[in-house]
Symmetry: C2
């Protein structure tokens, strides 16, 4: 028997199943029509059920950012996992080896140090570990800085017993897909010339999702946020507010004066992520309201520009700025359809920091 | 048998037990010497063991910000809990009633709406619920805006069967303790004149901890962060970096170029809280390093001003900007003494959003 949203305690996460499904299908349809392979990043939802649904709809596998997330997804029956992270340390490499024995797995490296660690862990493995070289194509994060370095590391992987060179991977900076394309084309050419043509060229990110087909060199694309979308993705034009599938349901617990409302969602529910925007999320139904400040358990809303103002006790939905870390703050999510709670799921890969 | 810190996987939380104990004792000694009653806020550590230790050292009870936290602490044997929050909604009020049946409990209200909810929930209770009026003495968050409003609500509480007026409560804005003092003095005088002298005048916050004795009207003080301290509290002069008891242990997973290091702690470990500071924490041992950016699982460190630079694979400690929400991101903390892990505890009150 389904439950009304009105019976849920706040703050809590509400996921509109129909919108999430529509977002997944829209992306998969686009990918299918354009010959793009999707390998969704599960960091956004952290739910086995949605990972399975993504694969069911046509994804070639999933992406996880942490070993702990990959272990949860393997436990849930996902069979093809990409873990684009430099894994370092004896215990992590043990875990990686065990994981590689039960799922199709690929990882990344951007240094000889990391490659040599993988080599030690897989030296006596009957199944070689697939290692891609991470490339910094403009994000300014991890990754080799030049295509020449990519060739050097590809050679090292290729020469290491227990490892096999899988290709290259990048997370392109938002809005810098064009620079990333040039970088990848140059690297593919250099690797091919070196006799190590990359089998996989992995790129991605939701902000540039609808341009995925423009990266001719790519063999797979790794969007994450597209399943739920959020205020940042709406600002980037990936979808509309109405497409956003996840909101934080919260209660107005105080109206200290005419221009201020306090809700029971603070930084422990919404995070302090601004992503360059103004305000800590968007109060739905009150377009002029500004979520001006957050304490851990209080959200302070400036209503001075609002004609309509929510009353004490009113339950309001907030669209988060950045949905992924919000999901990581809640043990459970409520999956709803047409205003009724269809089921409540444990966020199985929440808090998997290592 | 104790474990070496070197065997822990990263990222993880390390709490130096000796420093935490020294911080607790220093505050309790100060309180005892100055006739101040401490009612520590457990939102910082979220651990039953430390809550018990705080009471053992002389705290008159604890403070929790959410009902879920208070339930965890009651389960752990804490007997006196203050919950300074407007609790709204049928299910929450049911839970509150159940909680009040097993511990000494007080809550707050800043509106007739909230008081009337408490009244309905406790109308037939043999033990009245203690309700304090929350006062906004400069924080700009919840709370009545004037001492006159405090009197109005105190009268309403007093007139409501099932409730008893307990006093007033404020969270003074950091550095605005003086304004808060004037506000409280005025409110105490007005309430006394109205025949409702407040039994409890509760204030607090770690930034102004060492000035607690200057608020003559206060009967209790609610510091939270003082147990661990953090970069913000050091900046406020509450303690030194060496007094800070909690760090995030992380591994350098990439050194893409000479001036950049990437660690495996991002916003999912450190939060995006800046609290007006520059950088997302402090890399201990590398004073000129700047934690310039965070993705969810990557911390990007700018080493351009650093003479010494950490190597790939090196394990480094980061002092968080704001320790409370960091604790909320980890399922476990490692409690260490003299470099050895004494025990690992589950953060029992983590994620209690409601």
């Amino acid at each position: 028997m389904s439950q009304s949203i009105d019976a849920l305690e706040t703050p809590c996460i509400i996921v509109d199943l129909d919108k999430a499904e529509a977002n997944l299908k829209r992306a998969q349809d686009y990918a299918d029509a354009n010959g793009v392979h999707l390998r969704p990043h599960i960091k956004t939802h952290k739910l086995p059920s949605f990972a399975r649904r993504q694969v069911e709809l046509g994804a070639i596998g999933i992406t996880c950012q942490k070993l702990g997330e990959a272990e949860v997804m393997a436990d849930a029956g996902i069979e093809d996992i990409f873990l684009p992270y430099n894994l370092i340390g004896v215990e992590k490499l043990h875990r990686l080896r065990r994981l590689a024995e039960r799922v199709k797995l690929a990882v990344t490296a951007d240094s000889a140090f990391v490659i040599d660690g993988y080599g030690r862990a897989f030296a006596d493995s009957s199944l070689p570990l697939v290692v891609l070289v991470e490339c910094d194509t403009g994000m300014g994060r991890a990754g080799v800085q030049t295509p020449e370095e990519a060739v050097t590391l590809a050679r090292r992987i290729d020469a290491t017993p227990g490892l096999t060179f899988g290709g290259i991977m990048t997370y392109p900076a938002t809005g810098k897909a064009a620079e990333a394309r040039i970088w990848l084309d140059t690297a593919v050419a250099a690797l091919t010339a070196a006799g190590l043509p990359p089998r996989i060229v992995s790129t991605g990110g939701t902000p540039d999702l609808w341009h995925a087909h423009e990266t001719a060199a790519a063999t797979e694309y790794r969007p994450g946020t597209y399943i739920y979308l959020d205020r940042f993705q709406v600002e980037k034009g990936v979808g509309t507010i109405d497409d956003c599938a996840l909101t934080v349901l919260t209660t107005v617990v105080s109206r200290p004066n005419d221009n201020r409302a306090i809700v029971d969602a603070g930084s422990k529910s919404l995070t302090s992520d601004l992503l360059g925007m103004s305000g800590y999320g968007q109060l739905l139904g009150y377009p002029e309201a500004v979520i001006a400040g957050l304490s851990e358990e209080h959200g302070t809303i400036d209503l001075s520009a609002s004609k309509e103002k929510p009353a004490i006790g009113e339950r309001v939905h907030i669209l988060p700025n950045h949905v992924c870390p919000v999901v990581n703050l809640f043990d459970r999510v409520h999956l709803v359809s047409k205003g009724r709670v269809v089921r409540t799921e444990v966020v199985a890969a929440r808090g998997r920091v290592d």
